[in-house]
Homo-oligomer: 433 residues x 2
């Protein structure tokens, strides 16, 4: 079953249904079609994308069947359609479909078909929109997350905090899942934790501070020392910093808590000059740690948030920040730099004959024919290129020189001798044998 109950055959554009009807009318129900799903341009003016969303496509195929109420609704909005078509539609499923694809999480490139679907023309046509919906945002946000990870470096924790700013409930859930695939360490989204096993993390909101107006608001029994300390926590606190807030207060509380057998974890910065404030925090941690002989305080976590994007991360690095963990929301989940990936789904073969779209816009012309994709590696283990060729062509072989062409620049050609050859496609659905 798909994670989200709204993923069902009707989550599609109307024209897929009317086209399926036209295929049925013209007797093309059993025409064997091959469609490629690919993107034409890397997102974010970058040099790569991360492929994601495939798992949900498999679940969709597994569940692909029009319900009685679906058919009833379609009959209502398309009253002139032959009854025979509804009978045909009501027995459709994905059992005649085969799907080969690049594994989820792989680095992928423009023009390379990420998914190759084969099966009866009307059935594959009916899958188009849902597949694009499931792949486009998933791959976009995974790529965005990977870019944040590359920019931030491996030494820091990256947390996805975008649920409240995402495009609806599933936008939020997808963001949490695919940011994790893209290289994040966790999310604030509890449901994503429950459903996908992603680590969940959080701090606290301002409302929490505002809900207390004095120490009288706190009942004493809510803070029991772990080591049965005879000290009075409140007295200790008030004595330390009766009228201060912010960092000094945190340090006092951390020391008091330590006396009671609890270890504070760190602080969160949510506004101001994050690089400067993080350095000031770290200085204070070190100072107090030395003064109170509490070396563990030096390693307090500093979590930073507040509209963080790639540029902020670069700038903070240059300013030698002391942040251990970033909470990133809006810019991550909405992919502000480029909010849609633009994957397309093109017919490339019917009954063994290649098909292509012709256009005055050269970028819109697709590669015809049923294809296979190989990733070629050099001796040092690095990938050199992805080779697209027709399934009917002989696969590349290790140690054998082949002539390859650039996918965009006609004149660019090169000889490559692969040290290792990886067939990028795996079979994810149906009998590909």
């Amino acid at each position: 079953m798909p994670t989200n109950s709204v993923v069902q055959p009707l989550l599609t554009d109307l024209y897929q249904v009317t086209m399926a009807y036209a295929y049925w009318k013209t007797g093309k129900m059993e025409d064997k079609a091959v469609f490629d799903l690919f993107f034409r341009k890397n997102p974010f003016r970058g040099e790569f994308a991360i492929f994601a969303g495939l798992g949900e496509c498999v679940k969709f195929l597994n569940n692909f069947r029009f319900s009685c109420s679906d058919i009833a609704y379609l009959q209502e909005i398309l009253p002139n359609v032959d009854q025979g078509f509804w009978e045909y539609l009501s027995q459709l499923d994905a059992s005649q479909v085969t799907m080969s694809a690049i594994p989820e999480g792989y680095v992928v490139f423009p023009k390379v078909p990420l998914i190759r679907l084969e099966g009866p023309l009307p059935v594959i046509q009916l899958l188009e929109t849902t597949f694009l919906n499931l792949i486009n945002y998933a791959s976009l946000v995974a790529t965005n997350a990977a870019r944040f990870r590359i920019t931030a470096g491996d030494g820091v924790q990256l947390l996805e905090f975008g649920l409240r700013r995402a495009q609806g409930p599933d936008g939020g859930l997808s963001a949490s899942k695919y940011c994790y695939i893209g290289g994040f360490d966790g999310t604030s989204n509890v449901l994503a934790g429950k459903l996908f096993g992603i680590p969940v993390r959080g701090t606290h909101a301002h409302a929490f501070v505002n809900s207390f107006s004095s120490l009288d608001d706190v009942s004493e029994n809510c803070c029991n020392g772990r080591n049965n300390s005879s000290l009075n926590f409140y007295t200790l606190m008030c004595y330390c910093f009766p009228h201060r807030s912010g960092l000094p207060n945190f340090l006092a509380v951390a020391l008091a808590l330590n006396e009671y057998g609890y270890r504070a974890i760190g602080v969160r910065l949510d506004s101001g000059d994050l690089a400067y404030l993080s350095r000031k925090c770290r200085e204070a941690f070190v100072l107090i740690a030395d003064q109170f002989e509490s070396p563990w305080m030096k390693k307090f976590t500093v979590v930073a948030s507040n509209d963080i994007n790639e540029e902020t991360l670069i700038s903070l690095k240059e300013q030698k920040h002391e942040i251990n963990s970033f909470g990133i929301g809006t810019h991550l989940v909405t992919c502000q730099k480029q909010p849609a990936l633009g994957c397309v789904f093109k017919l490339v073969e019917v009954n063994g004959e290649p098909r292509m779209k012709l256009s005055e816009d050269v970028g819109k012309i697709n590669l015809p024919g049923k294809k296979s994709v190989f990733r070629l590696y050099s001796e040092d283990g690095l990938a050199i290129l992805d080779l697209i060729q027709l399934c009917s062509e002989k696969p590349p072989e290790v140690g054998k020189k082949i002539l390859v062409r650039h996918p965009f620049i006609e004149s660019k050609r090169a000889y490559v001798c692969p040290y290792k050859v990886e067939l990028l496609y795996r079979d994810y659905w149906g009998n590909n044998g």
Copy 2:
């Protein structure tokens, strides 16, 4: 039940749960809190927003209850929490909550609380993220749709075609629903049609054209004349335009179909100079209509699509386009200009005492206290302003002069004498009596 099954209490940030625990620990379970949900700045550098998403919030309240598996998951990720808290959490629901709000679809402004929630502090705290998630994107995309409508004018049809580019399945479904609220005429999304009764529309994809390679692909029996014409449809077609495509071909088919008792509807333009091409289409429609004495052809619909945004609509208008219907996808549903609204949820009162957030950033300081909002109208029926005041203050009265202040500019004040006073809040949940 919420439209989307992922709308459940765990669709929240972890810190809401840990804060609820802290409230429980400090004995604040029964503290009566008031929270306001509002935005600080109009989206898209505009002058208004459309409020949307409220209906789903009501469904969420109606269904607000942690399941056994929710509690089990939370226990797993928060192992040090007192058992008593889990018992408390497992019996929570929204029965102690009251919600007043501005009706969905209203034009709304910054700082005006769109929703006012009142109830036990931990419960309202636990609602925050889900509410923000349900309101933020819904209101943003409804506002975007309204802006497209204002720009396009009332005379044209606007269709939402964004499903494949939206943020996941629910991003797509929300876009379809809230664009309709914002002033669109229909969507391509069939599920949105089924669930919400929105008119569904569509054209056809390029794959449909590509799936045919010659007339031999079409079986004769698929085109039966309605008026038992003795003409042969294929012969007629081939005779008219044996080697032409595009517009001349469409006109020939339209004439042939008419002979057979079917009326063609129109054409779709999906690339090129849309204004120029639409004018050329209209000229051809008129010419052929006159030549073949078929006046109905003059009124053929021209549907245009291809990355349309507000600027394109303005430019097409200036070029006197002849387009009847726009299919709008990416820019509409992703809200490219500003992909997040930024609604916030602030504590404004605890046990009858006002609370406010203090910040060096004046824009982040919220208005404290339990408030009410009135829309004041002038004699000509137009709204003058929205007046925010404390519930304890005397409501404005028709014909009585009142001093009002600008929400952002301290020095701006004015006397207003309302001709009509509308209390903007309606009771949507609980007993507000």
